[in-house]
Symmetry: C2
Subunit: 187 residues, 2 copies
């Protein structure tokens, strides 16, 4: 892991490799609808504005892990697959924001809710390797969300992805999510 990777998600009327098939507000305010989505690596400090013709642009960082422990990291590395698989023509961008109550918790309390009580990693493992995933942090960048999670999977694994979302949203951890938007895409 050299310097953290900065990634921008830009929604616009046209031009991106991904077609936006739906934009759904799960909790809180929605995002504007748009037709196409582009995912690009950008230099650090690029800001969160995006090009002039963007419907919206979100900027996140692939940073170090905040909760994953050694044994979990080993298990994940054994089964997860990378982004960009040719058959993975379905995708989703899920921006979420967590409440102040979450951020005020000390590390051990957040970890206990995250895994011991919500099984976040365990639930994620069940969708591997079908669903590839990359987490982007953005709370510290000052935008409207704390995390942007990007998923890619083959269309025949759509049900596994739906199950993943349903299971996570039923957890105690999700009680702290006060904004969540689900952007579905295909290419």
């Amino acid at each position: 892991m050299p310097s953290p990777l900065h990634v921008q998600f830009v929604a616009a009327a046209r031009g991106g490799p991904w077609s936006i098939t739906s934009v759904t507000a799960i909790v809180g305010d929605p995002l504007p609808t748009a037709s196409s989505l582009t995912v690009t690596e950008v230099p650090a400090g690029s800001g969160t504005t995006g090009p002039a013709d963007a419907a919206w642009a979100l900027h996140g960082i692939v940073s170090n892990e905040r909760y994953v422990e050694r044994e979990e990291k080993t298990r994940l590395a054994l089964v997860q697959e990378g982004l960009g698989r040719p058959g993975a023509t379905s995708g989703a961008l899920i921006p979420i924001h967590k409440s102040d109550a979450w951020w005020q918790l000390p590390q051990d309390d957040r970890r206990a809710i995250f895994e011991a009580r919500s099984s976040h990693i365990k639930i994620g493992l069940e969708a591997l390797p079908a669903v590839a995933r990359r987490l982007h942090h953005c709370r510290d960048l000052g935008g409207p969300f704390d995390f942007l999670t990007w998923f890619e999977f083959a269309p025949e694994h759509g049900a596994a992805f739906d199950d993943l979302l349903g299971a996570l949203r039923a957890t105690e951890e999700w009680d702290y999510v006060d904004r969540e938007v689900e952007v579905r895409v295909s290419r």
Copy 2:
């Protein structure tokens, strides 16, 4: 904890409330010498460039805790004092960068090195309430450092502060510090 606080440290030839008394490279490259230091809150996304006449400018974020656990948080809150005490006319800014080896470690390994084996919090507690401290994160902003720690204390507590630095630099955690600069200031 509402949105994270963004703070800029600007060193220049004149004009700041703090006079820089020394700039010492502890490990790795130094920072340019300068005469005065200004600490200001800035909007998120202000970048790391600073004003045109700055010798250097560093930008960090007062973010959520990454290692502190509930019991430690309670103990710290009981004894620590805030910034800006009238008698605290000595200060220091200590920017550090940690190696890739550190950042590749999973959370439990980093926590074990940080506290179980290096007693980072315990060592810090020994200097409380004399030395007030605020940690700023900057790894995800793409600048040259990962952390900027700001300290304020009364001149008569200079020895306690020196002891704190000496004890931290002797820890296993500090084996992962590959750049550290010590900027001493007074007002």
